[in-house]
């Protein structure tokens, strides 16, 4: 019985911890976004195909909204040395991908990349959620990465 209680507590502990995305680096306000935080922000949608080529509708929050909340240089501020900034996305399995900030900015592109928390109106399936990136219009889905845990804005320093 004691063992059972301990196990349940441990599992509860695990669940309550993690489900968040850290936004850090070259930001004015570092954030730790939970599922509830994302639901309270302006929502956006994007479409991506699965392995079979079937399109699915994802919803979540545009990265540009997250950047605005965290105080990342966007729009008119995205000039000069700020164009040497990039976003490093890290996933739970330690998979990492980068975007230059210009790739994600509405003054440069109409493409809206979202941090998705739902597919077809439901939470993302185990293994890909709770949060994943959806990058519309790319030939390879390699940056639609699963289980995002960190969005880190950095300067290219070389």
């Amino acid at each position: 019985m004691k063992f059972f209680v301990v196990v349940v507590c441990c599992m509860a502990g695990m669940v309550s911890y993690g489900q968040s995305v850290k936004v850090s680096g070259e930001v004015l306000t570092p954030l730790t976004l939970t599922a509830a935080d994302l639901m309270a922000m302006p929502r956006a949608t994007a479409t991506a195909k699965d392995k079979q080529g079937t399109p699915h509708d994802f919803s979540g929050v545009a990265l540009s909204e997250i950047f605005a909340k965290a105080g990342v240089t966007t729009g008119k501020q995205l000039r000069g040395e700020n164009l040497a900034k990039y976003l490093l996305v890290t996933c739970a399995d330690n998979y990492q991908v980068v975007f230059s900030l210009a790739e994600l900015d509405s003054s440069f592109t109409d493409r809206v990349v979202i941090l998705a928390d739902q597919v077809e109106g439901k939470p993302l399936p185990a293994g890909t959620g709770p949060f994943r990136l959806i990058v519309p219009g790319e030939k390879k889905p390699a940056r639609n990465c699963f289980q995002v845990v960190s969005l880190s804005i950095r300067f290219a320093k070389d």
């Binding site: 695990m14 079937t54 330690n94 399936p125």
Partner: protein, 369 residues
């Protein structure tokens, strides 16, 4: 054309690195090979193929030096670093086995088994998180764990330093590597626990394997057999192995639940992250020299490579945290369905990753005083 490009990069890398320039890697720390004009230790000339890339894990506070690496090599084989002077790092990390020990679980100084399988020490320069669960970010931090673990080597760093301080040869080696006067009554400052760990880390960073048949193939010096070629195509293609063991290093630093169990005896990376979705997830290891590193997996459950291939072919188990790479769109475990010939081809390719130069390199063997 493909091959010529690589040859050029290799030559260029050799020239750059041996002239004292250190490639700056990912992460906050930059180049660390600052030269020491005049006296002091000599920067260690790191050499590796350009196709490995420069995302290396060097430490600004522990630059690689010839003297530091030499000391680290002595320490790696030093049994006095264990409580009863019976076990050295090399006990569980034997060069002939690509620095593993052939056991499912290793035995510490007191004969008690470790919790996980001894990891191969290969191309650690490109590793940024260590252990099966990635719990530390440097080889310096990593080395402290087996040295001081109650059942592995069982001795405090200070206890180890005390033992070595009485040996004039070590006092000289430490002074050469890190400075100080070995004979001037400064034994305590010359031989320290921190320096033990730093020297071990330096030596380990030099354990570079880049002369397997697969490397020679990349460089255009070796023609794969038909079976090896088919195996390579499977590995990087339909069998999907390269997704987690990809690139010329045959290593991506990622963590996956590869479907070993439905219920986890060892929760793996979740112990580090406290995240439910990391339960049963472990490092996807480098497959360089994989022919030599049996038994396989974090618990050494598979005694041979055919058993490992059989696992991915037929026995991947479903669970909540199973890697998405091993699920189909209906979320069921993928089973590869390879034929007997395809399995043999895959095995033939895995054997091209064996680097006999690495396992016989005298720079990595037990040194004699």
């Amino acid at each position: 054309m493909f091959f010529f490009r690589y040859i050029f990069f290799i030559v260029a890398a050799g020239a750059i690195v041996s002239s004292g320039f250190a490639p700056s890697g990912g992460g906050a720390s930059g180049p660390t090979q600052s030269g020491s004009a005049g006296s002091g230790p000599t920067p260690y000339p790191l050499k590796y193929p350009a196709y490995f890339g420069n995302r290396v894990n060097l430490r600004e506070d522990n630059p690689l030096t010839v003297e530091g690496v030499a000391l680290g090599r002595y320490l790696f084989y030093e049994k006095r670093l264990s409580r009863n002077n019976t076990v050295s790092c090399s006990g569980c990390h034997q060069q002939a086995r690509a620095f593993t020990d052939g056991r499912a679980f290793s035995l510490g100084f007191d004969g008690v088994q470790t919790r996980r399988n001894s990891m191969s020490l290969t191309n650690l320069l490109w590793v940024r998180q260590f252990f099966w669960d990635g719990r530390v970010g440097s080889l310096e931090e990593q080395a402290v764990v087996p040295l001081t673990d109650a059942h592995e080597m069982g001795q405090t760093l200070e206890g180890s330093a005390d033992k070595l301080r009485g040996d004039a040869r070590y006092r000289r080696l430490f002074a050469a590597a890190f400075g100080g006067d070995s004979e001037g009554g400064q034994g305590g400052k010359v031989v320290t626990g921190e320096r033990i760990v730093k020297a071990l880390a330096q030596f380990e960073r030099t354990l570079i394997s880049s002369d397997a048949r697969y490397d020679r193939y990349i460089r255009g010096d070796y023609q794969l057999t038909a079976s090896e070629r088919r195996g390579l195509d499977l590995f990087f293609g339909s069998a999907g192995c390269g997704r987690c063991h990809g690139g010329p290093k045959i290593f991506n630093e990622t963590y996956h639940n590869n479907g070993l169990d439905r219920v986890f005896k060892d929760s793996g990376r979740a112990m580090v992250t406290k995240m439910a979705y990391d339960r049963g997830r472990f490092r996807s290891v480098t497959l360089r020299n994989v022919e030599l590193t049996a038994p396989y997996m974090h618990d050494g459950r598979f005694g041979s490579l055919p058993e490992v291939i059989d696992h991915y072919n037929e026995h991947v188990e479903a669970s909540n945290t199973l890697s998405p790479s091993l699920r189909d769109t209906a979320q069921r475990p993928i089973r590869l369905g390879l034929t007997a010939v395809e399995k043999k081809d895959l095995l033939a390719f895995l054997h091209t990753l064996t680097d006999s130069t690495f396992i016989t390199d005298p720079r990595f063997s037990e040194p004699k005083f």
